[in-house]
Symmetry: C2
Subunit: 323 residues, 2 copies
Amino acid sequence: MREKTFYIGVDLGATKTLAVLYDEDMGLIAQARAKTPSDKGGDAILASIVELASEACAQAGLDVSKVKAVGVAVPAPIDRESGTIIQAPNMGIKDYPMGKKLAKALGASSFLENDVRAGVWGEFRKGALRGYKNAVGIFVGTGIGGGILLDGKLWGGSHGHAGEIGHMILQEGGAVCGCGQYGCLEALASRSAMAKDAVAAIASGKSPLLMERYGTDFRKMKSSVFEYALSEKDEAIQKIIARSAFWVGIGMANLVNVLDPEAIVLGGGVIARFGDFYKKRAEESMKEHMLSGFAKGVKVLVSELGDLAVPTGAALSAKEAMG
Amino acid sequence: MREKTFYIGVDLGATKTLAVLYDEDMGLIAQARAKTPSDKGGDAILASIVELASEACAQAGLDVSKVKAVGVAVPAPIDRESGTIIQAPNMGIKDYPMGKKLAKALGASSFLENDVRAGVWGEFRKGALRGYKNAVGIFVGTGIGGGILLDGKLWGGSHGHAGEIGHMILQEGGAVCGCGQYGCLEALASRSAMAKDAVAAIASGKSPLLMERYGTDFRKMKSSVFEYALSEKDEAIQKIIARSAFWVGIGMANLVNVLDPEAIVLGGGVIARFGDFYKKRAEESMKEHMLSGFAKGVKVLVSELGDLAVPTGAALSAKEAMG
């Protein structure tokens, strides 16, 4: 009998890290999460990943040596070949050989992937996109990322850069984006964009509910705050959430006009919290803004794997990269 | 010795039709053009194509029966399988089986293709895109069309609709587009968009040069008028041409961010007339609006085949479709 093999998928975020242990069919066995030591640099982050991996294995009573491959999904530019994180300023990382160091520390093969691409791959292989060969994933969180699936493969582009749909300009001269441009989808619809609108709305007396509970500190405007406001039917905040969906819908329309996918999957923290309220409005806006003949051909889906989309895709990519 | 074979590529436009006769290596042998009988419907247009094909063959002293395949490029939705033009209101055509009828009339096999896709294919096989497997073509004329080349193949999408880059929304709420939306690239940058700005500028006294020569009739604002104004360094009209390039540059930036192509080729009537003046401004705008790390990786090219890009691609597609 062949020995069972195991895989680990890591979602390395600037605020927290999630490590998930899978069996060879990507059945979930155990998971562990912790704050990312973003202020301590590459080696500290590496140590934290190793610790989380060990913790997940310990939960399952499994020796770490049984792990064949570990995939790390990163919200930053990476070099897949060399397993290097090129630049992640918000984690104090520059040209860090995470892949090699992690492989050595765990005695397993390793693979680095972009976080949203990993998420789209997870949804394609094990989630909402099963059966759709041509699709686009839009993940809305602090930023907005994308992944493009063509003929059942992630489209990387000529230099591995493809899928930066958060930086499509939808309103030339619009809101300032972190990338330096104006009117990018991300600047119009990400949680950061929503937080800007929220603090202004609260400060101008439009949401007494949030004023009392959270005040007007931008950094406090997490997804949970919006979720609370939505559950309380706070009108000012509902409008802000709907506005994000409106812009995401325009981005979806542009992508459908350009790529003609079978499906679009919405994922990420914002979508996870606002589910149907958000999806309904995003789909309406998409249909309103696309070529009218195209609407019937595209299915709009919500991530099935949620928080696990990214680590699942990372673990799968690591397994598949072993050949 | 094997008998020589010949191919015809037709660029069927709403105003004029161009038929080009090629040898089997797509060497140009002869061409014929005429006004398209757009007001007379499908059968008249078919007859006109047959006549132009015969005329091109006659120029070369060639019997029409030597033509193996004819490709027709159409600025309208088509069904490639059945060779049907689905809808071309500006030519009075609806569900017209152009492919079958043309094949019968000429005794050759036939193939229908979208005009801009044909143009991109022509540039890839015989023009500016030789050697670039991943590229985007943007053709600016009365409208704006696109073609996407991935891994050396035209990307059709899930329903054959891909490449409608003229209907990417770049300025939500902006200028009205023929498609019914607001702020599409086509509504901001096509020759029709330029003509709107030009008549307003002329009417308000900003271009005495054009006022004297052409007046303020929208239908008179053809590419030749803009070309004349550019050659005379008319400032108001230069600004309008530069503005079109500015918006096309934003469209290019979005496509680079999403698809990461090796090259972008600019083609169509507007580009053919304004060449370097236009390309320079479009490329500047692209670099200004894209993620800064991407700029080095993408080459901006101008169509080499010009008016022949579309018929060359149509003839090639027809040849290749024969298997």
